[in-house]
Symmetry: C5
Subunit: 354 residues, 5 copies
């Protein structure tokens, strides 16, 4: 069972109340700051104490504020005030059970989605809440965890080659989301592997675990699907927005992003159908096995129960049983039994039970 609801879910609180609904995964909130343009790049990491005094708009630079850790809602609210983030967006940043969505506010574009990672040791899909807030010339990102989801992008920015340093904050936003979506493939690849294992297993032999494995995978696919479906709408909104924060020349990349998401959904649907087929196979395998077992039982019983009855007849102790005294009656009986045996085997052969 995958938990879909937070027990910390706030009921009856006013809207815009920033409540952290996840599990605290990091000691202190950190801010990783990066400012760059085509020529220069500067990096800085500050602690949660000094985090809110940080905002200085710098001309001709793209600013990326990457906040890691969401549990200290006071700091989140402080940051919200500094960057004029709408209270409803702040609420969604801290709510780890929030459905992926895009909201446009007057001052910026807010996006929240889930990052997927496959825990190779536990062989489980793990979810992490990620939020983006795109403003004029800057981008805020919020990660639940201290481990960086955006390492590859950071490296690309630093090595300075390619398109990314020449483009605006909207391209950075695109690149970051694309990295998150790319991780979905890795999770799905692992799913594919497990499906393959089960498949091989079912055809070879029936173990109790196959059943629960299929069930667990179905649950996981439900979770992945639930998380991916809203992304389709999100990416369309991103493409169709007339917000000036999203520049026109980023559009082909956003179209590419949407294609990736649709491809992911395609894969998810295919795996889901696959799992259903697998379950059908599993059930028909069970039925077939049962049939085989029952046939063996029926054959053995049908052959030997009547024969045993015959033997029982002549094991009776009546004083007056004429056959008992006849000389060849034992051999005649054995012969009759042999004939019966052969006849029944022949019948079963004809009925294709043997």
């Amino acid at each position: 069972m995958i938990h879909l609801l937070s027990s910390k879910k706030k009921v009856g609180l006013p809207p815009g109340s920033v409540v952290f609904t996840g599990d605290r995964k990091v000691e202190k909130i950190h801010l990783h700051y990066l400012q760059y343009n085509e020529q220069e790049i500067e990096e800085q990491t500050v602690d949660s104490e000094t985090i809110t005094s940080f905002h200085q708009p710098v001309e001709d630079y793209i600013q990326w504020y990457d906040i890691r850790g969401l549990h200290d809602t006071a700091i989140i609210e402080e940051i919200g005030k500094v960057f004029k983030v709408h209270p409803l967006a702040l609420e969604d940043i801290a709510d780890t059970y929030q459905r992926p969505k895009l909201d446009e506010y007057e001052e910026g574009v807010f996006i929240t989605l889930k990052a997927f990672t496959f825990d190779k040791i536990q062989r489980k899909v793990k979810l992490e809440q990620v939020a983006f807030y795109l403003g004029e010339g800057y981008l805020l990102t919020f990660q639940e965890d201290a481990t960086d989801l955006f390492e590859a992008i950071r490296a690309r920015l630093k090595n300075g080659r390619g398109r990314i340093r020449k483009r605006g904050a909207d391209y950075l936003l695109y690149a970051l989301i694309d990295t998150v979506i790319d991780q979905y493939y890795i999770a799905l690849e692992e799913v594919e592997q497990v499906v393959e294992e089960i498949e091989r297993d079912i055809i070879e032999r029936q173990s109790r675990e196959n059943r629960t494995k299929i069930y667990d995978l179905k649950q996981e696919m439900l979770l992945i699907r639930k998380t991916t479906i809203p992304l389709r709408e999100l990416s369309s909104q991103l493409m169709d927005t007339e917000n000036e924060l999203i520049h026109e020349n980023t559009e082909p990349y956003l179209r590419d992003l949407r294609d990736h998401i649709i491809q992911t959904l395609d894969l998810i649907e295919t795996y889901r159908e696959n799992l259903n087929s697998l379950q059908d196979l599993h059930l028909s395998e069970l039925s077939f096995q049962m049939n085989t077992v029952m046939q063996v039982l029926a054959i053995v019983s049908t052959i030997f129960i009547p024969l045993t009855f015959l033997a029982g007849i002549y094991g009776m102790n009546f004083e007056h049983m004429p056959e008992l005294q006849w000389k060849y009656s034992y051999f005649v009986l054995l012969g009759t039994m042999a004939v019966l045996l052969v006849a029944m085997i022949w019948i079963f052969k004809r009925k294709k039970w043997l």
Copy 2:
């Protein structure tokens, strides 16, 4: 079986006939009156006798009339006349089997929906009819029950902090609906818990109750879904209306409300699929168990029925059975039986039945 139809359902009555179709849950109809603006707040509770003489529009104040109890349709009709509520809306207020909906009339906006509460003792989902009528500067609410669904909002209004005292009646409407929707999560959380229990139970052992528990939960999910689906359309209507009673700056909150409703629907769909998987698991568990039982039966029968036949042969009382007199025939037979036994166990091992 959850009852979806009232036996009191009026057939052939003229439209607009106000007939109470629920069970009377409160002795007398009460009116809880609240009038507030940013500076002041006043509260009053009056009895059903004086309820209809109450309407005095007060300038610069938001007026909230909260009527509890719907059984006395005469009073409901009286209130309807005072506030010029359309007869079809009045009919819907009293009809507890009414589907959630939003109707715009010239003088006001009418909304009816269901509140969900999870009865912790009976472990059952309970439904309550709630209706809203938003007019210029005032809001009417109708609850089936004396217990207040809106306690949290009332507290927020009184303590005076936050946005709610500064906004109009439309924001109050939003806040109240949001509170009702929030309760849905609590009901769903309980569903999640029961699902988890069943899951654990199925994997550990098969009891007759699992089956009926899954069935009952499916019924409950049907009911919750039936109640939630119309809310999606309702919230879209609320967002898209150009009615002047809904102010523009309430829109982000209505969008948030719609997001909540869509998230609830997502959860419901996920749980429904979950329950289906659970039932599949349950059935395949039953099949697997049956297989195991049948294999044990088949193994024991296949081994011992032929052996018993052999013993039966030599239990016969024929006078002329040469083997009976031979010295070691008993031990030879025992040896043959042992060989047969080992051979059959070996066969079963190879067929993976053991």
Copy 3:
């Protein structure tokens, strides 16, 4: 099996051919005539002979022609000519297998639908064809049967209270359709009752009838659904039409009508899913029962077949069986058997078969 097709269905006839496809349910066609305005009301019943000579438009009056019986297609065609009803509409009036629909012609609006009644004695849903033709100031209704579906409306018209006498023929049309839809609830209520009975039955014991009962109900629900689904489109057409025969102030009532139809569809879908769950429950109940039966069989067989084999061994008549002469071998064997018995019971207990 519910018959969905008429064997009298005319193939190859020119369109507009008026052919009665039902079973004749009434001796002679009758016309019930009602003319009213806010002040006065007049009623008249004429026979099929004089029926066609009847049409005299009366100023300032609403005229309601209620024709009962459809088998005499000559009269239907005659009426059609008098009121200038389009031949395709006439064809649909007499075709009792016609799908519910609304057609707008230049001179009037034609509606055909099915009335549902639940036959309490046979416990079966019964269908009746009803057709409406709304013209300027008059309404034609066609019923298959002599029993009046519109009794309640007729009573309301005569007693003269309420809105109905003050409004036009379009309001009368609305009121009549609403009455027909109201009957659907009664049929569904009966369905609910039967579902409940089956539910109780399945949990208590398995009888052969449950299966066919579920099947019959599923068939009935198919029929009800097939009849109700076109009504959704019909009611939307009625609401959205710009035909002057439908006055603007009837619109809230038509919206209400559509809400009723959608609610009916909701109920139907819910019952259908319910029946599917019920069938799942029924099947898993059967599986569970089979499991129980098989376990009992396996336990008894597994315990006694090996013991019987042991007894068989010492029932053999070999001359040289040393154990037979030993003094306590009988008691040792009994003891061994007892130990085996206890051991096997212990194993079954541990495997939770007992």
Copy 4:
């Protein structure tokens, strides 16, 4: 298995290649020619040799060219040239696996669909390719077979009554398509009859054929559905076209045609669901029967296996078995067995197995 693909399907041929993909059903292609107006009608039948020299536009007459037989693609291409039919349309005329569709070309409207006939002897649904090409004042029809699908229409034209002689070629097109659709009902009626037979059969007894009968019907329904679904779009295109070849006053008839098609689809969906219910019933019937069989087996085994064991005990040949010498031990044992028997029957009764 119904064949959905032609093995003659041409791959890699240029578009517009006219290849006959069906089985040759007629010796020679014939042309049945009919020219009529309100006053006069003339009929002629010519052979495939003279077929292409035939086209002479005749003023004030509607011309109907009915070509029977499609195997001689040279003639089809010749006709295509004479009437300026687009090569892609010609390709579709000869391709009997073509999906029903409507294509508008500059010079005419092309329609292809399938005619259904129920072969009463083989009890199988048969398909026939029909194509229509509507030009200014004339209509081309193509039938696969020499037997006339349009006999009824031809008769109506000749007898000269009714609307058909007064209207244009577009009305003729409508009348012909309507005739084809009418045949669908006859096929469906037969399906209904077979469903009914199976239903009766399942409830009475289980035969192997029911299973394959349901499977065959499902296949047939798939085929009928696959053929009917494109007709919905086709009829909408026909209604919405602004092509001048379709006159305005034919529209009510086209609307009627679309209604017929939708009703057919409704019926198909209903039968499909019906077949699914039937299969569920069949399976639960099998399960129930198995349960009954297993109960009988379990009861007999559970009662007699332990008793047989007891008898086996006292059939042993130990020298020291004190009970054997006791005077009443035989009767005591018989009594014990009787008590056990009664007890077990009582237990089974209580468990409702008996």
Copy 5:
């Protein structure tokens, strides 16, 4: 299990990175060059070394560059630069796991899709990545493999007859895609054949392979469907584009292409439903067989177990068993047994088990 994901899938690479994700199927990349107009045609094949120096626009000629082999991404990128193909399109050319799609760029139209071939020896569907890039007067095609998918078109171009030499590069694009789609039918035909084999097999006898065969076919159908569904959108985009590279007179052919794709989808859906029915048939066949087996077992057991018990009774060695001494008791017992046997057979006959 069909692999849907590449393990070489690049994660975190910047967009537009050209990475080959398939298996290298060809030694060296080759370019097959064709330049033609209505009068002349010229052909040339060059090696991967000289491939990029090749582009010379030739007036009044259509140029077709057919590149075979995708593994050398450096060459692909080089070609991309020469023809100014957008980096995102280049990325998609090399990514063999790319979903079929159409992207319009300023300089050209990019299409990627999958070619299907049925490997007759392995009896498996094989996929191949194909990409098209349509520019002004030229067409680039990319094949994964050295074997030519477009042989038929090449032949048509060379023999010079028909429409193809008179039309532009857009018609060539249409003709090539149409050839690819035509191959789908061949794959589906093979599917149809396998379905038929399984069908025959199931009805005749149950083998373990049927189950896995159905499962494998389901997987294949999933793959084919996943590949075909995006083509519907692709063909609509192609029809609706206002890009000047697609000339107006190609439109009827594009409409035809879309019809082919929709027909393919129809077939796929039909086969999928067919496979589901087949699985249902398979399962009900298994159930029916099990029933038969169980009935045989139950009949034999029910008849002989009680009889064996009776024989066991008189095999007991009690000293005081009066019946043993009676003269005819043996014959009386045999008679009783015969009566019991006949009675039970009669009962089974009446219950229709025999």
